[in-house]
Symmetry: C2
Subunit: 407 residues, 2 copies
């Protein structure tokens, strides 16, 4: 066998922007038994509706096997698109099914939006912190990142007007519901103010909503997209309410943009598995989610409560702080002055607990003193031990600013 | 509801390269009953191993439901990667499973390769004609197309040395087995000559092999990648041997390139459905394909024979010509002088038969006098009627060069 020199392959310039995900590298580490993962945003496997999926799958393969196993339209399976439009309508947002595009997880929706909307140098606004996967999806299209100033309610409307890279933002990427990683929920008044400002300035909004159904006490305000008309694209997902292993997400886009996204999707993977789309439709069509979601919410709320209780006991005395999320999967924790979460991580994994360092979620080098803790994966009974292990690591960690140096 | 002006969305420059696929637009037309489709490359649904898939699916959801429905590694399901490496080894090509990356159909592999390898202006060599889906996948990365001169055996080795755009080819994209659309099979000697030339010139090869298992009388020669070492990436697919609705393909790449492709895939869709990967593995692990493929080959061979017989009866007298493919799904037909296949298509669909015009498969405007006929989808018994309808359309079609004008 000949061995061509490595240099036979010339990489595209955009590959300089591709970076391995620390989340997924950590996930690999924590697959070994004995580590409690507060790292990945993995749904609790205890809440997968296994029986309902198994029954739906058996029906699909009994009643429509050849349709399910054949090539299918790029736009998605018609009845599933209709179900999604009807589901959004129950939240008060009317969209025609023709504006829905089924994607291979909502991660693919981010990739398609990057491909269709982002030129090298385009100003793309993101929250600080923001979802790591969105940074990864957009990065190869070489945007100029613009960090949007935020408060506890989300991005400040005026932040849309001040892109540091100059010119209008090509798009602003937002997660209004239980944001990954901050857990933040945007109130209705902030949503209205943001949409008004976006429409006034001509800033298109990309609204990502993977966690909206995971509310604990009250559902979130209606989506930005319901207020923004053709000024927003909306992303939804079956990963958190049904099962991520099916890789089913969707986007809702204005017609002329939808047509371009369909073309981009056709080039990217022809279509999302029609088998999985039919399985998902058969699983949810008779109202499974309405019956199933209360149990999911109750479990995550209990796990959040266990995590917060453990943080109070173990990390409050060390000077840590956090916000208490009203839904979703994540708690955002600040370390006491000078501690570096990236440096703590290997010690934490050695001590049997994993988290994601905050620096992963910033485009401009912030977040060293922050950690994202997921309360979705680990059962409530394990939270106390996990946080105790974390406290041990924090107690022993050297400050980034040793005594005697600048604070 | 506010209505933002359409211009709020600025499209990226690369979207100028996105074009709707005439194949898929035609597929939509031909979904109405009464049209015999010789257009799409859809496998015959009669050959889907429905029972085996149903049994495998039931096993997966009984024995490993929570693993199958959870997030999974980007690289793919380990046992499926090992199965693929073992399957390639039976053809004489030894690759470690770590070089296999599972993709969401082999279409996604093309997209990832475009993303990682193609800069705007990169010279990308393609056969003439070539696979339309590859043109669509690479196009948004803005390559400079280079048409490789071909004969009946495939691209001429010297064609790799003469990119009209200047400089070395960033990659050459080839389908050596029963090429889509020409049906051409590359003999072993040509493979060796092409690989030798590619290695000498430093031209990386992307070898796409969706149809290799669909041989009728003898299997094809070993893949180019088996000869080229780290000078080739190989693409395979479960769509033609198992079922396209699962959206399962794979690529085999040299380690340093594999790592980049994994990063690009993570950004594109995190991972391919772990449910589907486990279903596919459970379906094929005990040798199902070896038992199943002879029936698939026999059916496609019978359908090819029926198509060729109908062509002899109906189209030979009209001055058409074609080659007889030794496998795969496609027959490539030339129309008599001056006829334009694009102009014939709407008349053909009205007459109840669909095909894909040859111009879809060229980057430089060739192929107007050619048609791709698929013998995979329609049953043998319907070929005679379909080709008779086509003959009627050809008989009535106006020449592109009306009498009295230049030939």
């Amino acid at each position: 066998m000949n061995h061509a020199p490595r240099s036979i392959w010339t990489l595209a310039r955009r590959t300089e922007r591709l970076r391995p995900s620390s989340i997924r590298e950590i996930l690999k580490l924590t697959e070994r038994s004995g580590v409690v993962s507060l790292a990945g945003g993995l749904p609790s496997p205890q809440v997968f509706p296994v029986e309902a999926v198994a029954e739906a799958t058996a029906r699909v393969l009994r009643d429509q096997p050849r349709e399910a196993l054949q090539y299918a339209p790029t736009e998605g399976f018609g009845p599933l698109r209709e179900w999604i439009a009807a589901d959004l309508a129950t939240g008060g947002w009317m969209v025609p099914p023709s504006q829905v595009l089924i994607t291979t997880g909502s991660q693919q929706a981010l990739d398609l939006l990057g491909k269709v909307l982002v030129d090298p140098g385009s100003a793309v606004g993101v929250e600080a912190p923001t979802y790591l996967g969105a940074l990864q999806a957009f990065a190869p299209y070489e945007p100029a990142w613009v960090t949007l100033a935020c408060d506890a309610q989300g991005p400040l409307p005026d932040a849309l007007a001040t892109p540091s890279a100059g010119g209008t933002l090509r798009l602003a990427y937002l997660q209004p519901n239980f944001q990954n990683p901050s857990g933040r929920l945007m109130p209705g008044a902030r949503r209205r103010a943001l949409v008004d400002q976006a429409l006034r300035l001509g800033v298109p909004l990309v609204e990502d909503n993977p966690y909206g159904e995971l509310w604990f006490d009250a559902p979130p305000a209606p989506p930005l997209a319901a207020l923004a008309g053709e000024g927003a694209v909306y992303l939804g997902s079956f990963s958190k309410v049904l099962a991520p292993g099916l890789r089913l997400g969707y986007l809702v886009a204005p017609p002329h943009l939808h047509a371009r996204l369909v073309q981009a999707k056709q080039a990217a993977d022809l279509h999302t598995s029609g088998f999985n789309q039919r399985v998902a439709f058969e699983t949810v069509r008779d109202g499974l989610l309405q019956r199933h979601l209360p149990a999911v919410r109750a479990r995550y709320k209990a796990q959040r409560d266990a995590l917060i209780a453990a943080l109070e006991t173990e990390l409050r005395p060390l000077g840590c702080d956090w916000t208490v999320p009203a839904g979703g999967m994540f708690c955002w924790v600040s370390l006491p002055g000078g501690l570096d979460a990236d440096e703590c991580l290997p010690h934490a994994v050695a001590a049997g607990v994993a988290f994601v360092p905050g620096s992963s979620f910033f485009v401009d080098g912030g977040g060293q003193g922050m950690m994202r803790l997921s309360f979705a994966t680990a059962p409530a009974a394990r939270m106390a031990d996990a946080v105790r292990a974390l406290a041990g690591v924090i107690r022993l960690a050297p400050s980034r600013h040793p005594t005697g140096m600048a604070p």
